[in-house]
Symmetry: C2
Subunit: 226 residues, 2 copies
DNA sequence: TAATTGTTCTTCGTATACACTTTGTCCGGA
DNA sequence: TCCGGACAAAGTGTATACGAAGAACAATTA
């Protein structure tokens, strides 16, 4: 028992750099740090109450993930998503989420489907309560869940990262549309439950087309071409 | 002029961490560091002749890219690709490269097509010379070029990273098959030149199916299920 | 043999130092 | 007023040292 506890505590340990990275990501996604804003190491270190080293390590990963741009000897700035990248992101996402839906349909167990249905229920409820933040959150959870059910770690991690970026760019618009997309979600889960890969893929594509159209519309003027 | 020169020199500056990252990647891909091998910071610092800081930063990025696994308070080990991930990687790659081929077909200029044809020529020549290493290199270049022509940075960067992993896992087998795949490459470039997205997508899928089958076969016994 | 206790190796984070770039400011001259 | 260069400030890039804490492994003891 003591060993179990130790193992758990050891694995639980979250290095500061990871905490900083998570905080940095959410700060950027939430718009606390705006695109183009300069992120000096000292400033971040102070903001997060740590020394420069964890900050630097977090920054390198954030750069690899596309949240910041680092110019040698000039430091890091928050990346600026352009309207061009919106189209590009959705083009990739379409393929990836379609694949995820197909794999999920082919591999989902009864328990998997049940967990998806539970999310749908919670979503319906939250929609009725007009709790948009919660709806958006459940939306994310549902998509992430499908990725997980697909059982393909590569797909999962790539799509997850893309998803974060989508949320970043459409931070505002996403919450508004969430209730509308719920009907599409039901179609998607139905298709996954049916085990029909083609149908699931089609449902995912329909959903993404709608989402992309709405998001695009919402982004008009938000981020123009630069 | 003086300013241009400075800008260039400034931009040229390659931080040690990037050099370390590049060296680490190639060392892993080339098999100099074997899967499961432990990578202590001190050792890497000594291997590359730098201090621990650049090494740490490079390690974090290598982790994000999937080349190493970092266990908190235990350090980094070279990641161990399992046979399961092979299938998974190809499943994602199929979708991505198909999309790239379609976009390339839709957007390629005459100059783009010419550069692809030039690569094909060089490839044919290298094949005749039995220069397998060169063939493999041209193979990579061709794929990367198509990604570039697709004009979708997300697609490009994601597929590029996947491609590196494929090369890693099939380091040995890839070179052998390269000559065979050349015919498929010609089909692919023809399709791109035709501007027919569907046809390009089909050609890319055919190529990947063949590559995946060959790679899988070649990997038998190399990396079994673990 | 099994459990416990040390010991050692490493990572993790902090702190410090310093060279070198980039950037910004100020000042004098045209 | 405007330009150009000297100068200062800010910030990154890299190295180094140090202490705390965890993990792995060996030695010791019951």
């Amino acid at each position: 028992m003591a060993e179990d506890l130790r193992d758990k505590l050891g694995a639980q340990h979250l290095p500061l750099r990871d905490q900083v990275l998570a905080a940095l990501r959410t700060a950027i996604i939430d718009g606390d740090y705006l695109p183009g804003e300069r992120l000096t190491e000292d400033r971040l270190a102070e903001d997060f109450g740590v020394s420069r080293n964890p900050v630097r390590e977090a920054l390198r990963v954030a750069e690899a993930e596309g949240f910041v741009v680092i110019l040698p000897r000039r430091g890091a700035v928050v990346a600026s998503p352009s309207s061009g990248t919106i189209t590009d992101m959705f083009a990739v996402r379409e393929r990836l989420e379609a694949l995820a839906a197909r794999l999920a349909a082919e591999r989902a167990t009864a328990a998997d489907v049940a967990s998806l249905r539970a999310l749908l229920d919670q979503g319906r409820e939250a929609t009725q309560r007009q709790d948009l933040a919660r709806v958006a959150e459940l939306n994310s959870t549902l998509h992430l869940r499908i990725l997980q059910i697909s059982g393909n770690p590569w797909l999962s991690s790539i799509a997850k990262s893309l998803y974060l970026h989508v949320q970043w760019v459409f931070r505002l618009g996403a919450a508004e549309r969430a209730p509308h997309s719920w009907a599409e979600h039901i179609q998607l889960v139905d298709a996954i439950e049916s085990g029909d890969g083609d149908r699931a893929e089609r449902a995912a594509l329909d959903h993404l087309d709608a989402a992309s159209a709405a998001a695009y519309e919402n982004a008009e003027g938000g981020y123009g071409a630069r």
